[in-house]
Assembly symmetry: C2
């Protein structure tokens, strides 16, 4: 059985963007692959090193979100990155195999450098290290399948390069993993920003109550040129209809709403109310599964520690091979 | 008792430059400080990642050199870097606390970038990481005293900055270590190059036989303007006399030779023969102590593994504190 590795940064609850980008796939894949789901607390610290409390407090929330989405802890191994020192060891060895120039050419790193413009030349070393650390996350369990968001694909390519270089120099230890992007590569935000994101405050969380979903959808961005309900509206690129396409299983209803919207024969409120109902319908089983775990830190911790123990065993096996192939003393 | 940390890259036998720069101090200090001597195989791999065999083969040679110089394994803990995963873990955490710009300003890194000019923009990430990794080496045992060569002082300063920043953000865990440079900060090479160095092939090794010492000294660089023995010679900056000042305990003899050299009243051969005798005299006890260890891989491995176990215990204690202060899960 091939191995799958994916993970989440514990900086808050997960949202619909995470679901369509990765969680949906990982739930579907857990019967097909030996699955490892990493709570990436060390990686979260690269951006939050001065606020480790925030990371710590969100570890169990991310575990809870995964379980609520249908991850079965008997099938999938949920583990904590900071308790696998082998990842740090691999990161240090991999750092010799990647040039700084190559890291700086990584498109996602480039984008992030732009976003972090205020840091200017004070970008920490850790920021340049994290794609290498991500390669170590994947390869320490010899992951071959990596469900990720679109923006993570350059890191998968980097991981493949590292695996190839390691194998060339030291002998064949690692597979070259493949990234799997969900049907919806990148989910638009409530405010029409290209990406739903915690930091942009434009997200519906998997843990949101039906009331919160209602409030958020009612405040969503729609076609800004449609002032009155009788104005013809634009459906394409309209986040309300993008969400309908993804979360509303009643495709006929969606087509009918689109037609009326285009003709100026429907009020925004009706389109949004239908969406609220669709999203809440989608979230209902998530909420039902969540009941068992919400606030049950003991159970969540048990699941996480049990998974960490399993992942550590695999990591140790990999490191044994790594040491032998590197002819370490 | 304060802790001392120092170490050597296992890329070959150690030479007189290592002795005057660091080994002399670490032998003298082992009664005064709780001493840790690290065989830096992971660090050696940053320059030799494509030739790990070279690193592996030299691990025990470096252990042997330390013991031959008078390191007592009951007083000093000799350990292997690659068997302390806590160093890699600390390196990853420390990487968030240092900016790339700061690393690029480090004068030793700058010098090395120049030397590695052929790599141009393909300098590996590992190259920029190694000063941070060195901070982890020192701080994982809470080292306060670090006997080093002069070129390592910028790394000690970097270590102090990292310790300070960590303590400021997470709470007081680390001391701010001090570097101790030997009386002879940097030993000139046999060829008059500013630094005795393995890669420059201008070194007398602590393991050299008396014949080899004789041959190397006879071929040493002296005053190039002194063609005949009757020409007045220059003593200052003349490597033969620099070595006399350091290794010849008969100070009167040295002054007499200097006076005659200045007046053109001594042949080079006499000055060199006196130096051969002085260096061999200095190396005699080193050779005597070496007999017990040379080729005894079993004993050397035992000493290294015993030390590694002791160092690992200390490293684990430190990491426990680190995790608590960082509020890791």
């Amino acid at each position: 059985m091939k191995r799958l590795l994916t993970g989440d940064r514990p900086t808050g609850h997960l949202h619909l963007g995470h679901y369509v980008g990765s969680l949906k796939n990982r739930v579907a894949f857990q019967d097909k692959y030996e699955s490892y789901i990493m709570v990436a607390d060390v990686q979260a610290l690269t951006d939050n090193f001065d606020n480790p409390k925030k990371v710590n407090e969100n570890v169990l929330k991310v575990v809870e979100d995964n379980l609520a989405c249908g991850i079965d802890p008997d099938k999938s191994t949920i583990f904590l990155q900071s308790l696998i020192p082998e990842i740090a060891e691999l990161t240090v060895f991999f750092a010799n195999l990647v040039s700084m120039a190559r890291l700086e050419r990584n498109p996602t790193v480039k984008d992030e450098v732009k976003q972090k413009d205020k840091f200017k030349d004070s970008l920490p070393l850790g920021f340049f290290m994290y794609p290498v650390s991500q390669a170590a996350d994947i390869l320490v369990v010899k992951g071959e399948i990596v469900p990720v968001g679109e923006d993570q694909l350059p890191h998968i390519e980097q991981t493949r390069e590292i695996a190839r270089k390691f194998n060339n120099i030291y002998g064949n230890v690692f597979p070259e993993p493949k990234g799997f992007v969900g049907d919806t590569a990148r989910l638009v935000g409530l405010d029409n920003n290209a990406k739903m994101s915690k930091s942009l405050n434009n997200a519906i969380y998997l843990a949101d109550s039906s009331d919160v979903v209602e409030k958020k959808v009612m405040g969503m961005y729609t076609d800004p040129n449609r002032v009155r309900a009788t104005d013809p509206g634009k459906v394409e690129g309209n986040p309300v209809f993008i969400y309908h396409d993804i979360f509303n299983s009643d495709k006929e209803k969606v087509e009918e709403l689109k037609a009326r919207y285009r003709e100026g024969k429907v009020v925004d409120v009706e389109v949004k109310k239908e969406l609220i109902s669709a999203i809440n319908g989608f979230l209902e089983p998530v909420r039902e599964r969540r009941v068992k775990y919400a606030g049950n830190d003991k159970l969540l911790t048990e699941i996480l520690m049990d998974g960490t123990k399993r992942a550590r065993k695999v990591a140790k096996e990999t490191m044994k091979e790594v040491r032998e192939s590197m002819r370490l003393f």
